[in-house]
Symmetry: C2
Subunit: 298 residues, 2 copies
């Protein structure tokens, strides 16, 4: 089928792909389309299962049109904002869901810390942790993002990692230490979290955005593995694709939360495919709030 | 009761105590006895539960005599080598047992890597992994230790981390990558293991002997948390004391293995309490094979 791209999403994890990381599609080469997931409208179809006019999610890449076999697209429904299929119902939301619930295992009353908390995954993790009855602390860059977390998204506290008082702010925001740290960044925030973990705590390793945009990755934080032993901490990496069979469960629950207004997906939008490189570079500089969308057509 | 020290054991973890690590007894002060676990003979007793002549394990410290309440000692039986109560039936064996079985969860046919593999905990971990039907690879310092592992203790392969060909030797010894890494060292061996983990593997964080004997701890290895994500690895720290209620289960099983000749506890002995400091310094330099014992009296 021929698909007209409506919008693509851009995620920090794609930067790892540019390094040739084994877990992603591999390093790009000249003449190859930059990869990216899109919502698209089917304009021509040779498969009765996906008729013309269907709304689909597909690996369109950064282009206006793309052609796919029916097995490579997923038909999605028309209700709600189509861009949500790239955010809360896309890889971001699924990553937040399985990382938090399956790896983190939150229990009511526990303290959950999230880094890149205003980001595409983080802002959903924090809200899901609130739904689970946890106290939620977000780490984000800048006052505006921190205000968004506490004033709009229900976080109990937010700490600005760019502030000169970060260390003391961080300690103050976690008086009962940390049961679960959902780590989207690695680096210094991971190091700070390690020193504040509760005995028996868990660190969900989801992303390493602090390390993607460099050719000289930093060593791991001090305290690995020493503090893991002292605090009996479990630190575990995961990839959302391993949970593919359980996506429908996550979609059902997340849709209920979104429709009830308990889970508020945020997105920020760049208009026009030609803005995709700028949107990507700005994302890696920490510019995004929620899911970054590049709108290509309507 | 008054206890005559027969033998004390010295472990690398005590070095962490000298740094004032929170998980141990705290930093030493002048005039305070250096701590250490001993097997001892009761020479006087005010408690009928522990009569004169009993053989006990007690926190004697580095001294010939110590006085304890009955609740602070554990009466052990006379059968076998009394020093085994400091090794295989002491903290070393219990650490190996709960770390391997409860944190590592080995399954038949898996590859288990152990660092400090000729050490007090490591030589027991490797043998228990063999009992579980695993392929076992040890990392140790020097040819003599490596030979001990493969020729006497049944390891399938041993790699000398001091050898200039360590990197290629390590890769060659783990052709199917690593399901479980039992980490006694942290540092470079941890870094090497991280790059060779199998998807879904587990790293048991037991000790950080590469970092104890320094006032400038190194940062964590490269690849934390990035490789944990790529390989979906769980890395978990533990302290044996958390398993205290289940020690009898471990003693029962380990005794069966020792008596059947399937688990061979090794020890190396320094004669005389005055040798304790030398025994400790040498241990931190990697001198020991098995449990280090200082024999005080017979």
């Amino acid at each position: 089928m021929l698909c007209r791209t409506l919008a693509i999403t851009i995620g920090a994890g794609q930067r790892a792909g540019l390094q040739g990381s084994a877990s992603y599609a591999g390093a790009p080469r000249a003449g190859i389309v930059m990869s990216g997931t899109a919502v698209a409208r089917v304009e021509a179809s040779n498969d009765v299962a996906v008729p013309v006019g269907s709304l689909v999610v597909c690996p369109a890449g950064w282009q206006d049109y793309s052609a796919h076999a029916a097995s490579k697209v997923r038909v999605v429904d028309e209700g709600g904002d189509p861009a949500h299929h790239l955010g809360v119902y896309g890889t971001n939301g699924l990553t937040a869901y399985f990382g938090l619930f399956d790896v983190g295992e939150p229990k009511e009353g526990q303290t959950v810390l999230v880094s890149a908390a205003a980001g595409s995954v983080g802002h959903l993790v924090g809200q899901m942790a609130k739904i689970s009855g946890c106290r939620v602390v977000g780490v984000a860059g800048g006052e505006a993002k921190c205000r968004l977390l506490t004033e709009e998204l229900g976080f109990d506290a937010a700490v600005d990692y760019k502030s000169p008082s970060f260390r003391s702010d961080f300690k103050e925001a976690t008086p009962d230490r940390i049961d679960i740290y959902f780590d989207n960044t690695g680096g210094e925030v991971l190091g700070s979290a390690l020193r504040r973990m509760k005995i028996g705590g868990r660190i969900v390793c989801c992303g390493v955005v602090s390390q993607y945009d460099t050719s000289k990755p930093a060593p791991g934080p001090f305290g690995v593995p020493g503090l893991l032993i002292n605090f009996r901490v479990r630190m575990e990496g995961f990839l959302v694709f391993d949970y593919a069979k359980r996506y429908p469960e996550a979609w059902t629950r997340m849709r209920e939360w979104v429709e009830a207004g308990r889970l508020v997906p945020k997105q920020d939008v760049f208009e026009g495919l030609e803005k995709a490189p700028e949107a990507f570079v700005d994302l890696l500089a920490g510019g995004n709030v929620g899911t970054r969308i590049v709108r290509v057509a309507s």
